[in-house]
Symmetry: D3
Subunit: 289 residues, 6 copies
């Protein structure tokens, strides 16, 4: 088995299994795969190769395995390119062997999960490659598909990215509306500190350097620098002098990210790696017996 | 309220409500929106405008409404650009008024649903616009996000597209592996007909014109012409002479679709409009009181 | 193992397992089988035969197997009369061997599922036998038990019947109220065609021969002939001349079905085979060791 | 509103609502009622009468109301023949008024629930009427539809019947296998008494009069007399002399029940009233505006 | 394996598994055990001993086993002190061996279930020991943790206690408000008898001896004597003379229970054994390799 | 309405509603409140006062309100002592008015939730009062009831306490086993930092002062001082000099906490306030009309 670029702790198997069962129920509908039942003999066996139709970073093979094996536990799936590893165009990722009917019936669910998660991993890995050599980490946001957040954040990790908040409850992120409502940035940070538990990190979003100074003075753990130019970011890094984690955000893409990373910020966040990643093109090639 | 380009029957409200509750639970986590609770007074009220940051076709506002109103039924959402209508860059889509805390806490869930579904509607509408004036309909596939298929197919309808199968059980689609397993195309179609109910439509995928002839002779209702050049497609249309519905598939995108549509096929299917649509960029602008 | 009259693709195992777990939870309640726990030693073993108390067609043995094996995976169930096969009065269908406690505790759930589904299969097979030698297929309706539709439609297939729509979404069936609302039959069919995907079959219900003509002209795929006499049905078959599938419906029972089938209609639908089928009388006979 | 023959405490509304939502989801499928959406204008209104096509006892109207109002809370349902009341052939049970689309879309779910439960109530009421004037109560069994037991037992109450155990945990019912395993009837009853809580009633099934004597001596609260002739039952009643509740079971139907009731037993149980009741034929008649 | 003081029929494994999966999902959150993933090598193995930090009665080990084995089925758990047995301070209850990561990640869920249920068993066993030598049984109430009632009642059985009603539906318990509403105790009992099935036991709560007489005359199966002094209880026992089961309730604790039991009542009920039991202090001791 | 000592953001209403519906389903069982249905006329109305039988801190009234209003939305609940406020013995907390049947049927679920959560709030408030005047905050642990963690942590906040981690995923807490596995404390902290996102706080548990020094040097955000004497704690505070948050843990109770707080630690954590809190004794007093 290929070595992953990024070794990632697998998702809990019982959560993967639940998601796959729901997806299979969605795709089998009420009468199941009526095409396969009508045309493929129950005794037929298949040998199929999951292959990449384009290069990318793999994520989500546990969903693929679960899709096949939920329909028939006798199906054997052997992985050659694991989650967190890169695949070349045309390269085989896994081989699936077993009864033909359940392999055909589970194919779409397997591909839908793995294609989507690999697409996110690939988009992430691309941005990560563009900031190589800088201290900047690429991080995701809460702009994820409803119901799939934990899985999409896992795919970000497979891509070499880092996770931002998983939900509204595992970190304080004070934005402009909060600042206005609280009566100013300093007050907002103080209010956050006084109500939050000690494990809760406080981040505040700022648009201007004077706000940065205020946030630093008020003791924010991190500061999100929203839509600042590289010049402003560089100045922010200089003024901060390591007193807080700095996150650059807004208009991050393959064209802009290198310049942002060069400013010395600690983090660069991107919503697009989850909300607008292209599905990685994967396919199942059936081998003639 | 703006008139939709495409009037679409709304999704059942109780299904939308269930999906939204799950997404809110995912985003609120265990402790809820701790930032807002710490910084925004319970008595604060907000007036926010949902606006488009880029032009597109809207879909999924019922999820947006449900997100706000599930957290607080006293929130008022009034829509000016409904599902199925086009929005210009900067145009207001809806106005949200009510207590500030639940509006802030539901914002991300609202945007995640509506941005994603509007992205699919926009991608669909774009392809639909490129085949205008031809008889071709744009149709989706089963390459959808696990768990969201019914919603994404709804978004396709908002984009002016048509839905292909919702699952493996609501239509026969005979592909190459089925043909091989059944011992040939004619046998596969016959097997399908003999087991399927009378409401079930039989489609068969072919790569070559001789297969097309066999499929027509065997009585397929529709024929999927896989990865054929416009010339071949045109010849397929000619030979079919209206005896079956013809669907072109494979390598469909904004560059290629017009030529495909010009061949006279009835349907053009695209996986990308669901599996790789970019999220439509929507934002919530809070008005100062 | 006996050969089935009708070979039927099994239901997905994970859906059967879910339904069985719910039913076991319903029957075990909060404290479980307190009678068995109090009176049967944990070490006792049982050898029981599932037998038919009356002749019939078997359906639903996977639920029976799952009921026993969910409570204790060490229970062995060996089937001699599989789904889709006929059983004689007194004939053994399966042998169950294992620890006595879980066999006794799962008995009622096993029998409730298999008795009900076999009852439906038996009622279907009876009607099917009465139309033997005619082209008519027996088909079911949406008059099924809430929550069990997919399973009851499976039982219809075990009985040699065919399935009509599984839900409101997998076929157009235009009835009198739709016709009135749409402003006539031709308009209704046109509206249906223009909104539905190409995989969707359009059927229309008619009471009179002039409506049949209109439906044929408008291009309906199937026509439901509601409550027509055999003479009218025969005339409908003659006028249609194969241009559409014809379904006879209304007042179908063991007394009337042969005459209806003799008219040459393609399909005869019956709600009673699902909504009013008698449970097949099955029992578990415990063998003395 | 007609007065019920049997006033029955309604089922908890939130449980009815859950069951109805599941059934609507099953019947609407992924795309909803595509026929109605295509043919009925959104503005159309309907006025429909739920009427009986045959006489019977009504049960389950809360499911009917919930089916319509879940799809559209603006639908008005007014009941004239409530649960527990008898309806004549052709009599109106309820009037439904509101937007036509959701009324048409919810119709089948409404009828499937109310038809089935009214069928059970009707079958029960028929047996109850045949034992009028005797002390015998008609009672149901655990031979119910998986997932619907609480609802079917409610229908039995609407029919004037009584409920036996709801599950394996709310009463001890010692049958022949338990007796053998426990080493005799006396031992089985003693074991039950020693482990069960004080709220738990102990019933034992016997085939012979000597077993009856043993059960009485051992202090059974109730005794199930299995498949005994009227003469034996009469003798059992005489010997028992009020020391235990006596339940007759086995081969109970409309032909046999009066003779059984005349023996003086306290209870007569029937599985057929739940597992094999015919659906009551109900229909929705749309009024022309 | 130590012999249990009280042999208790295990809970159905599939219900335990469901509860454990929910609890693991609650404790793993979205990103799982990030501490263990970061610090413990995937190849590390552990050998841990579940030990008691204080003496008590064990209950709930199936939850403990399920917690570890749901995360990794290769984990081996071997029990030396089973449910229903007593453990000494420092005594080993079970040994857990397998991969270190899932053992560390499941630890808290395992302890939370087993500590709580063992705490209930211990509190129950303590009261049971204080009434030894009297005929009195200790029984629980419906004052249980929402969602865990069946499990907590199981723990009571492990403690040697008996279960009262599991819910409002498996027994009639007439309290003061019911008596007032029904127009008196005799009427209330008569109303209960006339509506309840024959398996339903009728208990009535009384405060005074004259009410006891009325309840006995009206044929109550059990009588709950609320907050009576030992003298009054003794008089109640005398007057009842075995005609009904007598339950003492109110102000039951370790100080008072012996005197109450000495009065000759059949049952003594305590809410505190479920609603206010201290968690039994259990810990997992990791052995150095 | 009394002013709360601690104003706490309410839990999301839809999560409370779901938990209450499950608890009502558990308590109503299959047949509902058969006692009330039999004895209380449908027309009876009640006026009941929720009162404290002992002094304490209130938490969980939203569950109480939901319990009553889920069964009947016409029930009116008016609160005089809200969550986060203290109640005296005998003081009225809320008044419930409406139909008598649903008030009686929901009583136990209402009390079970509110009694348990108020018990936790009361135990927390007691510890909080004992550290008044020191900088120490009282915090909870993950030793909570499976399934109720978010609610119990809410109750801790009502008691004036703070929340520690909600799950294994929202903070790094490095304990002895992690340190051993990682090859030392410094390595463990470094590994945590390198894999965790920037919002993740890193805490490490130490037993000795030399470990404290190592943890400070390695940059831990917080340090858990396990089972240290007040003298050691005081020395730890001195050495730390504000470089990290210090949490004292182990053997914390009403007797020991003041001395621990006096050492100057920032946090004192207690498992007992959630896992072993006594239920607050609340009761519903029905007023005679």
């Amino acid at each position: 088995m290929k070595k992953p670029v990024i070794p990632v702790e697998p998702l809990p198997a019982f959560l993967v299994a639940d998601a796959v069962r729901s997806a299979l129920a969605e795709d089998l509908g009420r009468a199941g795969d009526i095409t396969t039942a009508a045309t493929v003999p129950a005794s037929a066996r298949a040998h199929a190769v999951l292959a990449a139709r384009e290069p990318g970073r793999i994520a989500g093979l546990d969903f693929c395995i679960a899709a096949f094996r939920t329909l028939d536990p006798s199906i054997d799936v052997s992985i050659s390119v694991p989650d967190g590893a890169d695949v070349a165009r045309g390269e085989a990722i896994a081989v699936i062997r077993g009864p033909a009917r359940p392999i055909l019936s589970a194919e779409r669910v397997a591909l839908n999960f793995t294609g989507r998660l690999s697409g996110i991993a690939t988009a992430t890995a691309h941005l990560v490659s563009l900031v190589a050599g800088t201290p900047a980490r690429v991080t995701c946001t809460r702009k994820t598909t409803p119901g799939l957040r934990a899985f999409e954040k896992y795919a970000v990790r497979c891509g070499g990215g880092y996770n931002h908040r998983f939900a509204l409850d595992d970190g304080i992120l004070i934005k402009d509306n909060h600042i206005v409502a609280a009566g100013g940035l300093t007050r907002a940070i103080a209010a956050a500190r006084s109500s939050a538990g000690h494990m809760v990190h406080v981040e505040v979003e700022v648009d201007r350097l004077d706000q940065l100074e205020e946030a630093l003075a008020a003791g924010a753990n991190s500061i999100l620098l929203d839509n600042m130019s590289p010049d402003l970011l560089r100045e922010a890094v200089r003024r901060t002098g390591g007193r807080a984690v700095l996150e650059a955000s807004g208009n991050i893409n393959a064209t802009t990210i290198a310049a942002v990373a060069a400013t010395g910020v600690d983090l660069i966040s991107s919503g697009a790696i989850t909300h607008s990643a292209k599905c990685l093109d994967l396919g199942l090639d059936f081998q003639t017996a």
